[in-house]
């Protein structure tokens, strides 16, 4: 199970970083999302992988899963979800304002027009 989880994290991270390095906002956002999935599984694994163990105290049970990473990962999921929503909206606004979805800021041909559409 360790090998499976570890390679899944590695694969998601690799795919996430590859997509993040693209030039268009859509792949970048998908890449960031993949990366946050990888991070969430990684946090979960930080509490050691355990099967069929309860995280909450029970008099009849002798061994437990670590409950803290589960709380941490819940926080991380909520935050990355909110952050993804923000970047989607800002990227959409940038796309609507500039007419293209490139991430880099190197093109300055018709920059004079850029000041015209300030609202």
């Amino acid at each position: 199970m360790e090998a499976l989880v570890a390679s899944a994290i590695g694969l998601m991270t690799a795919a996430g970083i590859y997509l993040t390095l693209r030039l268009r906002t859509f792949p970048v956002i998908v890449g960031l999302t993949l990366l946050s999935y990888a991070v969430n599984v990684f946090i979960f694994a930080a509490g050691r992988l355990a099967v069929n163990m309860p995280p909450i105290y029970d008099a009849a049970v002798k061994s437990y899963a670590d409950p803290l990473p589960q709380a941490l990962v819940l926080t991380a999921i909520v935050i990355s979800f909110g952050m993804t929503a923000v970047i989607v909206l800002v990227a959409l606004a940038a796309f609507l304002k500039s007419g293209h979805d490139r991430v880099d800021m190197t093109d300055e041909p018709d920059d004079a027009a850029g000041t015209g559409d300030r609202e």
Binding site: I29, V90, T115
Partner: protein, 502 residues
């Protein structure tokens, strides 16, 4: 238990939703409450500063959960100082934004501003590494909103880059925190300090990897080379008052490195040794050089100020990298100075930009309204940033040089040469902006109303730098105690009341 410790987090956290829910259509009411909230925050932060001065480090247990399991807030001299600095800067910035009408150019400026203050104060106060991540995200999500405040094509596009870069940073921070948790089983900073000091030999390599990842994240926040490239684009495109407030955000990276570097990974801990100090020293030197060259080569005023900010972070990290009490005290003095000076300079850049839309340094442009006053304000802030007498930049650099005597050969020459380059850069920028404009025969553009409140705030920030120079003696005395407290964290750890340590 001193309940006021959590007030700098609670107050903006309650005020911001109130502003959104009840006063979203009434700008006047928003302004009144935003100013009142920030003034209250300033007063509370001064009270906390006093409490931290007379008492040893004090811990607040939200929900009364005991330390390694519950989240804690810790008030010591360093965190109290940073909260007070944030509050004072926040007050100046919010008044400036109101004076220039920046807050009316988009919606929800004041609510976002209060959330931003909440995140920054929380990041300074927290004593839990995961909670630090949460407050980072609070301040970042507010900064995303402030960054694109007022809209505009370039600003929104710069905002996308800024958000993407920080999301990557957050992912890295989570990986680092999860690794540290996997090794030690705790994320409470005081508990980490105890556990890392007694780390088994076999875990040291993994801990070094985690420590470097953690430092990388703080280096992103602190704009250290090679992770500085987000800063010029972001700060140059952000609204002026927001860029001024962001000057305290880079200091959060510096604060976190001071905190983690003295508490959890001090240079004498066997697991990491001087690894962090060595990494910081090299990259701080390059940061300083890059910032100074950037000041000389910048094509717009806002970018020049951004690079000056990077250069000051380089000087700051040089002092931090020494990890001695004397150097840390100098770093703290320089950190206050750098925050206020960078903020003042961004506000001056905004005054110029509001009078002519173009702040290019490539060619001369027609003169601006109130040119004389703005030019002298630019002159004063440039003196402060470059580190010339009589303002606090000079004393700050002198203290840093004095603390780094044993590395004089490289560090002194880099600091002194880059100071010269910065002075030349500012002189060039200032003369193009303010002197050469008189050579142009174009007519003066229609002058906007002079805004006394905005000018007062810039002058107040410069006045604060002057006060730092006049009262440098008592201030340094206070900071030396703070630095000694940081380098001997026994009191900090004891305040957490960890089980088994009593």
């Amino acid at each position: 238990m001193n309940h006021w410790i959590i007030a700098p987090v609670i107050l903006p956290a309650l005020l911001a939703p109130l502003i959104i829910l009840l006063m979203r259509n009434d700008l006047l009411l928003q302004r009144v409450f935003s100013i009142a909230g920030t003034v209250a925050l300033t007063l509370i932060s001064f009270a906390l500063l006093w409490a931290a001065t007379v008492n040893p480090p004090e811990v607040y247990f939200p929900g009364d959960w005991p330390a390694p399991f519950g989240i804690v807030l810790v008030l010591d001299r360093l965190s109290a100082l940073m909260v007070a600095l944030t509050a004072v800067l926040g007050l100046a910035v919010v008044l400036y934004a109101i004076g220039t009408g920046w807050d009316a150019r988009g919606r929800h400026f004041h609510a976002l501003f209060q959330f931003q203050l909440m995140g920054i104060c929380g990041a300074f106060l927290t004593g839990d590494a995961f909670n630090l991540f949460v407050f980072f995200e609070v301040l970042l999500i507010a900064s995303y909103g402030l960054m694109v405040h007022g809209g505009g094509r370039e600003r929104t596009r710069a905002g996308v880059q800024y958000i993407a870069f920080n999301l990557l940073g957050s992912s890295l921070l989570l990986i680092a925190l999860a690794s540290i948790y996997a090794i030690t089983g705790t994320l409470n900073m005081a508990d980490l300090a105890v556990k890392v000091a007694a780390l088994p030999e076999g875990d040291a390599a993994l801990m070094r990897v985690a420590a470097v990842m953690l430092i990388l994240v703080f280096a992103i926040k602190g704009a250290l080379v090679p992770l500085q490239f987000w800063l010029p684009g972001t700060y140059a495109n952000a609204p002026g008052p927001v860029a001024a407030l962001f000057s305290v955000m880079t200091k959060i990276g510096a604060y976190a490195i001071i905190r983690i570097g003295t508490l959890v990974f001090p240079p004498d801990t066997p697991a990491t040794g001087t690894l962090i100090a060595d990494l910081l020293l090299g990259s701080a030197l390059i940061t300083l050089i890059l910032g100074a060259v950037g000041v000389l080569g910048a094509t717009t005023l806002a970018r020049m100020v951004a690079y000056a900010g990077i250069a000051s972070m380089g000087t700051l990290f040089l002092a931090i990298a020494a990890f001695t009490p004397q150097a840390t005290a100098a770093a703290l003095y320089y950190m206050i100075h750098s925050t206020l000076a960078t903020a003042a300079m961004f506000l001056v850049a905004d005054l110029v930009l509001s009078r002519r839309q173009d702040d290019s340094l490539r060619h001369s442009l027609p003169p601006i309204a109130q040119s004389g006053l703005i030019a002298s304000l630019f002159f004063a802030t440039a003196i402060a940033m470059a580190g010339m007498p009589p303002l606090s930049g000079f004393l700050g650099k002198l203290l840093v040089l004095d603390a780094l005597r044993d590395q004089a050969a490289i560090v002194w020459s880099v600091i002194l040469v880059t100071s010269l380059i910065t002075i030349i850069g500012f002189a060039r920028g200032g003369s193009v902006l303010f002197w050469k404009s008189h050579a142009s025969d174009e007519v003066v553009e229609t002058a906007p109303e002079p805004d006394p409140l905005a000018f007062t705030m810039v002058i107040a920030l410069i006045g604060a730098l002057g006060a730092m120079t006049v009262f440098a003696g008592p201030l340094m005395g206070w900071l030396e105690v703070a630095a000694a407290e940081l380098h001997d964290p026994a009191a900090y750890i004891a305040a957490n009341r960890l089980p088994g340590s009593e």
